[in-house]
């Protein structure tokens, strides 16, 4: 892999037209990655999902060079109907379209910052890989006091032109004071066996509100890793919803730093898996100051030898008195071969806090099935109804009604 990576890196750099200094920085990250390689189960954070093995098994040899000189045709049929929205379209990792047609132009600034590399403070070698190989990186600034009229949908589309490729994406968002952004990530893959490595950074200034919905619904054989870093200042709110279902492997990480008083973070997630899929959500909520709140709810329905992992950590600094931190994960295992692993972790250094976590996993409740069948439903209907209700709980947590309905339609949940 090393030679391939080095070669692909040189090719990528050639196409990029970077300053000598930036090339040095990229080389530094490449060397870091070459030293560490893909994370494996020896690393605590990857204990349940050995991505090194997973890539080897599912993809084999990866190639890291992507030719972004020619444009791809944007297929408008993938766009969401019935909801007016702004768009960013990635096709095979190349940004094809940025369109904020519904918004006031002067309130949104898009900065091409390919040449300034922003470092992520996590020891994960995938961030090194991302730093070394991303070729275009934008920063989107929502100006002070501006609240986007329509949601922004980011389409992550891949098609059969790529195979065994590694794609690295990076986006940076700054939400200035009193601004608001609703963001949907929609994954749309018709490609197979690629590894997507996506890093987002959000900086929320005072009173800003971020709502991020990640939807990975369509069946595909890709492997994905996504990392969201969210910095929260005073009175900010972040809401993250993850529907983890379509890809062969998907690990979503959310790292939330609650730095300002009265900031709060919500993370809700659904795993709906079948056919040997393996998904993970890992959250780290850092309560760094007084009067902050976090709430997490993760529900899983697992079929046919699928595997879901939830690692959630609540960290409370010794200054962070009056913290509320809650975490709940529930899983229904429908098949003998399915597996649910959880590591709900609390690390607490302040005494005036209320923190709790709960985790439960098991089969469908036979009594409930019996009850429904006694009222005339057949087994499958009863099962469907119970699963529906189980998952609806999470979807109901979505605070934006438009998007809630959109997601309900997508997963076919009925009320």
């Amino acid at each position: 892999m090393k030679e391939q990576l080095q070669k692909d890196f040189d090719n990528t750099i050639k196409n990029l037209n970077l300053s000598q200094k930036d090339i040095e920085i990229k080389k530094f990250f490449l060397d870091n990655f070459l030293n560490k390689g893909f994370p494996d189960r020896k690393e605590e954070d990857w204990k349940f999902s050995d991505i090194n093995q997973i890539i080897k098994k599912n993809i084999g040899e990866l190639s890291f060079f992507n030719d972004y000189t020619s444009t791809n045709k944007v297929d408008t049929s993938v766009f969401v109907d019935g909801l007016e929205h702004n768009k960013i379209v990635f096709i095979n990792g190349r940004i094809e379209k940025i369109d904020f047609d519904y918004e006031k132009k002067e309130q949104i600034e898009i900065i091409d910052q390919s040449e300034t590399i922003n470092k992520f403070d996590n020891n994960n070698s995938l961030s090194d890989l991302n730093n070394a190989l991303t070729n275009k990186s934008f920063k989107i600034v929502i100006k002070k006091g501006y609240q986007l009229l329509k949601p922004l949908i980011i389409y992550h589309t891949t098609n059969s032109k790529i195979w065994s490729k590694n794609i690295n994406l990076r986006l940076d968002f700054e939400l200035q004071e009193d601004s608001c952004l609703r963001l949907i990530d929609l994954f749309n893959d018709t490609s197979e066996k690629n590894f997507l490595n996506i890093f987002y950074n959000f900086n929320l200034k005072e009173n800003a509100i971020l709502k991020n919905y990640k939807v990975d619904k369509l069946e595909n054989k890709n492997i994905k890793y996504s990392f969201n870093n969210i910095e929260q200042n005073k009175n900010t709110i972040s809401e993250t919803f993850i529907l983890s279902s379509g890809s062969n492997f998907f690990k979503s990480e959310i790292n939330c730093n609650l730095k300002g008083e009265h900031s709060s973070a919500f993370v809700n997630g659904i795993f709906s898996l079948n056919n040997n899929k393996h998904h993970e959500i890992r959250t780290i909520i850092n309560h760094l100051t007084e009067n902050t709140k976090s709430f997490q709810l993760i529900k899983s329905v697992l079929e046919n030898s699928s595997k879901a992992v939830y690692q959630g950590k609540i960290f409370v600094n010794s200054d962070a008195q009056k913290t509320d931190g809650y975490q709940l994960s529930k899983a229904i295992l429908l098949n003998k071969e399915s597996e649910f692993n959880a590591k709900p972790e609390l690390e607490i250094y302040a005494d005036d806090v209320k923190c709790s976590h709960g985790s439960a996993s098991g089969s469908l409740n036979e009594d409930s099935i019996f009850y429904l069948m006694s009222r005339g439903l057949n087994y499958n209907q009863a099962r469907e109804l119970l699963i529906n209700g189980f998952l609806l709980d999470v979807v109901e947590k979505i605070t934006d009604s438009e998007i809630r309905n959109l997601i309900k339609n997508m997963i076919g949940i009925k009320e």
Binding site: S318, F340, L346, S356
Partner: protein, 480 residues
């Protein structure tokens, strides 16, 4: 109330902190094959036992000291320790208590463990371990009548080799991990219990561990075998003198429960915790593991952990037999600069297995406490159940309380439920108690005892009283 106050006053400092001035025989300092041969030789062990030790030592040399635990400690120089220390008077095994060195008798009397049978402790048989040797075992005759073997493990190696050979290392294999393997190489003494088929042990069996010599590591080994349909309740207590240096205690405890057998293992651990500034104290790195080998067997661990500078242990149950049950009840209290990383592992292998974990952690002062546990339901363990509850109580914002559970469910017929909370003593509760005339300290004591009640109830009567007092003392000075 006044009496309680007096009692607390009396026990304010670590009352077991005295040391006994007694002449010792020690192995040469350091760890090498010669020292192991020395230990084996002193114990007059058969060849197979020496081979067992040497095999463990070979393995030990290849192992790396683990470093994933939360409480970090300065490097231990394993060549700077004595691996064997015994009172000289124990050189020739005394035949009865009358021959026992009066200094030893005095020591145990001071610890509140009378060895003379006339001062019988409500029908508890005691095996007293002093540094590296077992000095006395009481009530042996009475137990033998029922076929129960209760003796130091060094005697069992000589008198019951077939049992020891069969079970030693069967739960904690030689190659297990750094400290367990070290123990297998150099263990000195400990208790051996065998309960024959169908016998319900008529009294509580107990071991009292005492570290006395300085610069010594204590490596004891306990093996308890409950044959088909038998029952035993076993207690363990520990203390050590106050010394400025840290001392290592790395014990192995193995439990084997055959068909329909039940073992109840209770620990009140009160090793010297170090002084207020965190100087000195015992490193308590213990491997405890129980195997529910037979059908319908049950193993239950209860622990009250108040001592030690660092406690690092996970009493575990391997539920191999169908319908077997594992339980873990724990109170861990850390104060001043103490650190604890403790919890349990419940490994479900058999069908219809059940486990329950109740863990209560209290941290005060500058201490740090971690609950770390694993619940693993394998794909074959259909219809199994686990319930876990771990609650932490924090006193002050200089201490930490952490929960790190690992939950693995590979079986759709099985249920796992896990709950954890962290909080402090609420103002309302305190107010309510104080309004009724209790001082702040008393109120905290009362609330903490209530918090721990579920676990304290699991302890045998005599221990429960002791433990309850200990809980109060350990938190002394942490309020207000």
């Amino acid at each position: 109330m006044e009496n309680r106050q007096k009692e607390i006053e009396k026990l304010k400092d670590y009352k077991y902190g005295f040391s006994t001035d007694i002449e010792n025989i020690k192995a040469p300092k350091g760890l090498n094959e010669d020292v192991i041969k020395f230990i084996s030789n002193v114990k007059k062990e058969p060849q197979w036992m020496l081979e067992f030790r040497l095999k463990a030592y070979e393995r030990f040399k290849q192992l790396k000291e683990p470093d994933w635990q939360k409480p970090k400690y300065p490097n231990i120089d394993y060549q700077d320790l004595y691996y064997y220390s015994a009172p000289k008077s124990m050189d020739k095994k005394p035949k009865s208590l009358d021959e026992l060195d009066p200094k030893l008798l005095e020591t145990y009397k001071k610890l509140g463990i009378p060895l003379q049978e006339q001062a019988r402790l409500n029908g508890i048989a005691v095996d007293a371990v002093f540094d590296s040797v077992s000095v006395a075992t009481t009530f042996r005759e009475e137990l033998i009548k029922q076929g129960i073997i209760f003796c130091p493990i060094s005697e069992a190696i000589q008198n019951h080799p077939e049992l020891v050979k069969k079970y030693l290392g069967s739960v904690i294999p030689l190659t297990d991990h750094f400290f367990a393997t070290l123990n297998s190489a150099v263990f000195t003494d400990g208790s051996f219990v065998y309960i024959p088929e169908g016998v319900r042990c008529p009294m509580e069996l107990s071991t009292y561990f005492r570290i006395n010599a300085s610069n010594t590591g204590q490596f004891e080994r306990t093996l308890i075998i409950a044959d088909k349909g038998s029952y035993v309740s076993y207690l363990e207590g520990c203390t050590a003198p106050m010394r400025d240096e840290n001392q290592l205690h790395a014990a192995n405890v193995e439990l084997v429960a055959l068909d329909d057998a039940e073992i109840k293992y209770s620990t009140v651990q009160n090793w010297y915790p170090g002084d207020k500034d965190g100087k000195g104290g015992i490193y308590n790195f213990v491997t405890k593991r129980g195997l529910c080998k037979g059908k319908n067997s049950k193993i239950s661990w209860t622990q009250v952990e108040t001592g030690s500078a660092i406690t690092w242990k996970y009493p575990s149950c391997i539920l191999r037999g169908d319908n077997s049950v594992g339980e873990f009840y724990s109170i861990a209290i850390t104060n001043n600069h103490q650190k604890a990383d403790t919890g349990t592992k419940m490994i479900h292998l058999g069908k219809n297995t059940k486990s329950k974990i109740i863990s209560k952690g209290i941290s005060a002062g500058f201490s740090d406490m971690t609950y770390r546990g694993l619940v693993d339901i394998s794909s074959k363990a259909s219809n199994s159940n686990n319930y876990t509850q771990c609650d932490s109580l924090l006193m002050g914002n200089k201490c930490g309380a952490h929960t790190v559970p690992y939950i693995k469910n590979k079986n759709s017929d099985s249920n796992i439920a896990h709950e954890a909370t962290t909080s402090k003593i609420s103002e309302e509760q305190l107010h309510y108690c104080q309004q009724r005339g209790l001082s702040a300290e008393e109120a905290v004591g009362l609330i903490v005892n209530g918090f721990c009640k579920e676990v304290l109830q699991q302890l045998p009567m005599e221990f429960a009283v002791e433990a309850q007092k200990l809980v109060g003392i350990s938190l002394e000075g942490s309020v207000g």
